[in-house]
């Protein structure tokens, strides 16, 4: 009999390592997902409320049982409050990541962050100028100090609006102003959201969701954007470079160190330590041919984008990478690190190290990284990883690595186009490229691993739609081979021609999940060049395998910025059909974009193509019937 639950992953390394994990009796995310079935329908529909202790409450979706919580909140209010708290948690996560980078920038300026430095002087000056910091007659460290201070102020609430909101097209800012959703302070909007969703505060679903947009915008045009900009200033603006991907990037004869998490503050220092001659000599002494640093998840994307460091896998691969038995040390910072990893590693010789004061895990040793000690900590850890190399048991690296190209920052894309977005606009206007789609987001055991990302990317490029991607999606398409210039042969004739002329792949890696803001910046540049708003462009977003609260915040800031966005898994909102309608239709009249939900990537591709051809028609460009 057909059993849909047999479907786990489309990746070759994933299937082989999952079999190895099963054989080693390692419990994985798929086992735990199966054990959780059936999921609670109240929770899946957003109809359970744990906000106060008059409850917990739930509403009967069939209309006969309780229709209101103890406080009197109906299904619409409960669903809206729950969704809004997800947005707040997502915005808080990205934005707190950004804050940590500001602290490093401030540390560099004060001389208390040895090992970190300003790598991109021009970008520092450019961003400082946006913040109104005078740059002509000052030395670099003074500019960095003032910029860090100005960015910190964006987090507070003394602002009328966030500084980087200015980067959005004028028409878009006017929409936000009229709706009253212009973000005022990064922390302020999250804090206000927690206030509004307390019992007895905001009990109007529409009003709650409007603030949800403002909260998400405080992430997209605030916390996340600050995170990306400072990362570029401190660690370099990504430029196209070759790398390798999948579990095959682990090396049998080398010390393997895996970095996992999101913030480049830790992974960059580990990367630096891995190149130190004395540590390489120490590795040789222990019988290793070298020190092989690789990444998983988004901190892996950060160092892939800037250094071409190899990428072992995305979210659902993190347990399986350990099952190779080849990882001598995994160093984690925060976000998306499954608390199961310590117990997986316990089956092998792998040493697990947590580094953030904010993020501790069972079965991991804690070595705290702070700006002032990061360099020293990293050197110590790499030395210990080398020592652990000698304790390896059996090693199983089932595949050869695939080649990929990463590093497509906005600066790099515009650079590849010859310094202006005009050639891209020309290709779109001529219809060679129909439009562009950002495929973003996570993995989720509810969707066959990487199937959503890979299938969607394939269908879009076949139809001459340029794909840009970030986060776990970008790892999926890289493993499938879409990130080599040769992949242009899988694209439609128009996109193939453009990719061939520029020597770029049809799927461009734009970075980690905070780097989704690069897509906003690129979309704004295109809109400005055409003298229009983002919502008029033939572009769209998709999150085929999303799972996290951060993805909710990203989805909402994309839609609020005017980008039609197709989700794979259904968010917990079906308890209120009013909210489903508002998010999938009503928002079109408010911000000129809305959500759709379609777990089948084949059908999602059709929705995206229809949308893009519709936008082309409205712009007076050639359009196809989909």
């Amino acid at each position: 009999m057909f059993d849909p639950k047999d479907a786990t992953t489309v990746t070759n390394d994933g299937q082989l390592l999952l079999a190895k994990a099963k054989n080693d009796q390692v419990e994985t995310v798929w086992d735990r997902h199966a054990a959780q079935q059936p999921h609670c329908g109240f929770c899946e529909m957003g109809l359970s409320c744990r906000i106060c202790v008059m409850g917990p409450c739930r509403v009967d979706p069939f209309g006969e049982g309780p229709q209101k919580g103890v406080c009197g909140a109906d299904a619409d209010i409960i669903v809206a409050r729950n969704l809004c708290r997800m947005i707040a948690a997502g915005a808080a996560s990205h934005s707190d990541h950004g804050r940590d980078l500001i602290e490093v920038l401030a540390g560099v300026a004060a001389g208390t962050a040895p090992g970190y430095k300003i790598r991109e002087v021009e970008k520092l000056k450019r961003v400082a100028a946006e913040y109104g910091v005078e740059t002509d007659s000052k030395d670099l460290l003074a500019i960095a100090a003032e910029l860090a201070q100005a960015m910190m102020e964006d987090y507070g609430m003394r602002q009328k609006e966030l500084t980087l909101v200015k980067r959005a097209p004028a028409a878009r800012r006017e929409i936000w102003r009229k709706l009253g959703v212009t973000p005022r302070g990064v922390d302020r909007e999250t804090s206000e959201m927690m206030h509004r969703t307390h019992m007895g505060v905001d009990n109007d679903a529409t009003s709650l969701l409007l603030h949800g947009m403002r909260n998400a915008l405080s992430d997209g045009w605030g916390g996340s954007m600050i995170a990306t900009e400072i990362s570029d200033i401190l660690f370099g603006i990504p430029t196209p470079r070759k790398t390798t991907v999948n579990a095959g990037v682990l090396k049998k004869d080398q010390v393997n160190i895996v970095v996992h998490g999101h913030n480049p503050v830790v992974s960059e220092m580990v990367s630096k330590a891995c190149q130190m001659p004395e540590l390489l000599a120490y590795a040789a002494e222990k019988g290793a041919a070298g020190i092989n640093l690789v990444g998983v998840c988004c901190t892996g994307n950060e160092i892939l984008m800037r250094r071409g460091i190899a990428m072992a896998g995305n979210h659902l691969m993190t347990e399986l990478i350990l099952a190779t038995g080849a990882v001598d040390m995994m160093v984690v910072d925060y976000q998306c690190i499954m608390p199961s990893l310590g117990s997986v590693a316990a089956c092998y010789h792998t040493r697990m190290i947590s580094t953030s004061e904010k993020a501790k895990f069972p079965g991991m040793e804690h070595r705290e990284f702070r700006p002032e000690n990061a360099e020293e900590q990293a050197v110590g850890l790499v030395r210990e990883a080398v020592e652990n190399f000698t304790r390896r048991g059996n090693v199983y690296i089932p595949v050869e690595p695939a080649e990929a190209m990463g590093g497509f920052s906005v600066e790099a894309i515009v650079g590849a186009l010859g310094g202006t977005p005009a050639p891209l606009i020309g290709a779109i206007t001529a219809g060679k490229i129909r439009g562009a789609v950002g495929i973003v987001g996570c993995n989720n055991p509810k969707i066959r691993h990487d199937y959503g990302h890979v299938t969607l990317a394939k269908r879009l490029i076949e139809n001459d739609i340029l794909v840009v991607d970030t986060g776990c999606a970008s790892v999926a398409t890289a493993k499938a081979g879409f990130k080599m210039p040769a992949a242009a042969e899988w694209a439609g004739p128009g996109l193939r021609e453009v990719c061939g002329a520029l020597g770029i792949p049809p799927v461009l890696h734009m970075g980690s999940c905070v780097d989704n803001v690069r897509i906003l910046v690129l979309a704004s540049a295109l809109a400005d060049a055409l003298g229009t708003d983002i919502s008029s462009l033939p572009i769209a977003g998709a999150a085929p395998e999303w799972y996290s609260e951060k993805a909710v915040a990203i989805g909402v800031y994309f839609v609020a910025s005017g980008v039609y966005t197709v989700l794979g898994p259904m968010p917990p909102i079906t308890g209120s059909m009013k909210i489903v309608k508002l998010l999938t239709e009503g928002l079109n009249d408010v911000v000129g974009a809305a959500f759709a939900v379609e777990p089948d990537p084949e059908k999602a591709a059709v929705l995206l193509r229809k949308h893009i051809e519709g936008k082309r028609k409205a712009l007076g460009l050639s359009s196809l019937v989909v």
Binding site: C40, M45, F62, M577, V597, P599
Partner: protein, 196 residues
């Protein structure tokens, strides 16, 4: 006579019935203290997982004739016709599992229990909350179910309601729609997730 009736199309899989059942069959009858009891109380109703991850509350049908009763050589299983309930006497049970082999629904479990002799593993299954009903309460699984997937009512009333539901769908100008559009949408998406 009222009976517990299962409406699988309404089950949202929250598993509250399992918690309530275990609590009702504990010594202390309070969730917070029940989890500390030895032996740990266990539910008699079990929520199973369908092909598309939907829930289904699987409980004893109190069959008549009951295969478990016919299979029990120790005479531990009897029927109380007054309340249409098949009961297991833990003192007579010899833990041979013949009843479980005979049961077509897999609802009989074996473990120590608050009402069994201490240290003795016995066959345990739904008793229709006879103890609660003696106190004027309805079965615990029904009381906790907020979606109407488990009801406690006269069989004839349930039959009439279902008959009327069917009749309404063939009325001229009938509005044909799911019981809950949101729940139907959720299930459609879940099915699509699993089959793609």
């Amino acid at each position: 006579m009222k009976e517990v009736i299962v409406h699988p199309e309404r089950c949202v899989g929250c598993m509250q019935c399992m918690l309530a059942c275990a609590t009702a069959h504990s010594r202390t009858r309070e969730l917070f203290s029940a989890v500390l009891e030895i032996p740990r109380p266990k539910p008699r109703v079990h929520v199973g997982v369908g092909l598309y991850d939907e829930g289904f509350p699987n409980r004893c049908r109190h069959c008549n004739p009951a295969p478990c009763q016919m299979a029990c050589l120790a005479n531990a299983i009897s029927r109380d016709p007054a309340v249409n309930t098949v009961l297991i006497n833990p003192d007579r049970c010899i833990n041979c599992a013949s009843c479980a082999m005979a049961c077509p629904y897999g609802v009989i479990r074996f473990h120590e229990d608050a009402v069994a002799p201490p240290g003795k593993t016995v066959a345990v299954k739904c008793d229709n909350c006879d103890e609660r009903r003696a106190r004027g309460l309805i079965p615990a699984c029904v009381e906790i179910c907020k979606v109407g997937a488990l009801t406690y009512e006269e069989m004839s009333a349930a039959m009439k309601r279902k008959t009327d539901e069917v009749a309404r769908t063939v009325s001229v100008c009938a509005e044909k729609g799911p019981l809950s559009p949101g729940f139907a949408l959720l299930n459609a998406i879940k099915k699509a997730q699993l089959t793609t």
